[in-house]
Symmetry: C2
């Protein structure tokens, strides 16, 4: 029986052209994060099923690829649900494994700990164009720093990487705080315990607008006067730090002055230290889905592309789930696959660093001549060139076209006949 | 309930020190293989269970991490074995996925195709010291070249990478051919169909010696006169090309002159083109376990370390399992984790390329001063340094010791008091 040629549903083979782009982006991200003092770490792709199902991951927990128990531990007869036959699964993000990693290794790690982690994550989402079930995440996190300087360093590092990777693309950093989101809900007088419902609807603001949010809130049975009071808070806000202060004043008694000062400080520091041309704005409609965020949340949007290209926030309670002791933590994740998509859509080609040469030899070349060709290739490589040595195909023209598409610039051809003359 | 801090059984968190070594090794391997014209590719970590269980992987197929079917496809009630509830699994090597990749994408790939693939593989082996259930493989493969020049390029590239990565470690390339192994078994007159048993015992030669192999073969019930005839073939062979020719003469009628010429040509070309100091030897006791090899097989052993640090061979029948049409293929895999082990055991430290500086600021620094510190850091980074900005801990001495262990060389300290004086 023939084996299956296609990748498993929703996953993909990466062809040489895309791989070149991925390596280019990966190198920029690694180099930039390293210059900011982030230390590379790695965690296993496989994680305890208990950790993956601990309500830290929101909807992602529904999308886990579960791994079967092995040997005697697999008891099919008595199994009632998939949790009885699974002991582990593929990680759906890098934040949960990082928190476990920190809890497990903190005695051997500096404090504060600045980590960069790049790796694959897996989610069994319904397959759709441009969305894959295995994809790369690039996260930086600062653990052990509860001050806004963590946010500032994360934003400076991420925006530096983005501006290097996507020259010519304008982007904006949006920032909000969970405490402000909660205060606004409280101010409006929505029922306690229904704030997550409000956030889910608010999150659609960029798609359905203020009127859309209004009708969805009313449709969900929220008190119309509360809805009105709530939406009035957004009414004439523009995305700047004056709006931030105005909102604080409107919220009055329920205002969270620390959260507001915090965001103001972050914006001030970013604006005075940034080394790329972008805006950082307060966005009271920014929600972000993950259940684990406890404070600031932020996202980067890029002109001309819907959705965000990076996102993150503060999750001061997650490490405590492992250690019993809360530890401040804040992270920022670049949407690696989004950026690859944007670079591909813009026909971006990374510049090659070394000359790529192809040596093509006629079939049937004897060993003495082959030795001369290979020696020449060896020397050429030592002097910094990339040299492919390949037999010449019958259709040499097509072969060379393919190689040119792979950025081969120089060709040397070796024929048996030629050498016979000498 | 507290979450689990330890990684899943047999897998590991990679700490910053090891990560630095891994990045160093990865960079050398990538750069070297790129200079030989190998094109990076990537395949999904998850593979069809049918492909993983297709008898291409020998014993590794017993070690697959199987992934559960999802949603309605998972029918626990009627499941009789784990194959009924699993549709995929984690790849146990990179060769099977590469073959599938080539079969799936050949219309868009050059021929011959030279690929480099680096990635994690998973095997549910019994946990033991230094062996992990997730580990990295670095493979190069040449598809579509049936000549010995494929072997020559693979060996030149791999040995160049090894000599760069492990300076000062002597190593030897051993080479054999499945056809020669089979011819020797035939010559000795062992029962047809039992050659695999003979190979498994022969494979222990380096551990138990000629006498050990003799007694195991006899113990397995092979005819003593055949055993004697078989072992006489190895008797006075030393590892050189004269032995190779001698063996060919001894084998007489059952000899495989093409295989012998092939190995001789490979050795001759390597010796005339190699750019590092190592030997390439014929080793008639080299077996290599994988069922899919069809011709040459080779391994690299490193002085002072048992086992091999790289291995590979020709597998001309695997791609045909996907396409219905055999395609020559040959690959070489560096034992990434073995090399990391050797570098660690030898206390090897990669040289840092950029200066690592730590800026330590006193807690409570106000925002104007913080802006000055961050601006200075930004400039320092732009000029090529790696700069960590961190709050100063109460135990500054310990903090600096930890940073020095992470190769931080320069420290700048910022105090509130100092700045007040100005």
């Amino acid at each position: 029986m023939a084996l299956k040629k296609k990748p498993v549903t929703g996953m993909k083979d990466i062809l040489p052209g895309e791989m070149e782009l991925r390596d280019y982006l990966m190198d920029i991200i690694k180099e930039t994060y390293s210059s900011y003092g982030f230390t590379p770490i790695a965690t296993p792709a496989v994680e305890h099923i208990e950790n993956l199902s601990s309500k830290q991951g929101g909807d992602n927990e529904k999308l886990i690829f579960k791994i079967l128990k092995r040997g005697e531990k697999l008891k099919l007869d008595t199994a009632e649900s998939d949790m009885d036959i699974s002991d582990s699964g593929l990680r759906y993000d890098l934040t949960l494994p990082l928190s476990r990693y920190y809890a497990n290794n903190q005695a051997n790690l500096p404090l504060p700990f600045k980590a960069v982690q790049i790796g694959s994550v897996w989610r069994a989402e319904r397959p759709q164009k441009g969305r894959f079930r295995q994809f790369t995440q690039c996260d930086i996190d600062i653990i052990g720093d509860g001050s806004y300087l963590a946010e500032v360093e994360l934003i400076l590092a991420t925006t530096t990487a983005l501006s290097r990777a996507c020259p010519g693309h304008r982007f904006t950093v949006r920032i909000n705080d969970r405490a402000i989101l909660r205060a606004m809900v409280e101010f409006a007088g929505f029922e306690e315990g229904r704030s997550d419902e409000v956030f889910i609807i608010l999150d659609k603001m960029d798609k359905i607008g203020l009127e859309g949010v209004k009708s969805e809130l009313e449709g969900a049975g929220f008190d119309p006067s509360s809805v009105e009071k709530y939406l009035a808070l957004f009414g004439n806000l523009v995305e700047d730090d004056i709006s931030l202060r105005e909102l604080g004043e409107k919220l009055g008694a329920v205002s969270k002055p620390e959260a507001i000062d915090n965001i103001a400080s972050i914006m001030e520091l970013i604006n005075s230290c940034k080394n790329a041309d972008y805006d950082v704005v307060f966005d009271p409609t920014l929600v972000r889905g993950m259940g684990y965020y406890t404070g600031t949340i932020f996202e980067v949007s890029m002109e001309g592309f819907a959705g965000s290209v990076a996102g993150g926030g503060r999750y001061d309670k997650m490490i405590g789930r492992f250690t019993g002791k809360d530890t401040p933590a804040c992270g920022f994740s670049i949407g690696f696959e989004r950026i690859i998509g944007i670079l591909t859509d813009s026909d971006f080609k990374p510049e090659a660093e070394n000359t790529k040469k192809a040596y093509l030899y006629e079939k049937g070349m004897d060993i003495e001549r082959m030795a001369l060709i290979l020696k020449k290739a060896q020397e050429d490589r030592l002097s910094g060139n990339k040299v492919l040595v390949s037999v010449m195909n019958k259709n040499k023209k097509f072969q060379k076209e393919q190689l040119i598409a792979q950025n081969y610039e120089l060709f040397e051809e070796f024929y048996i006949k030629e050498w016979n003359k000498d």
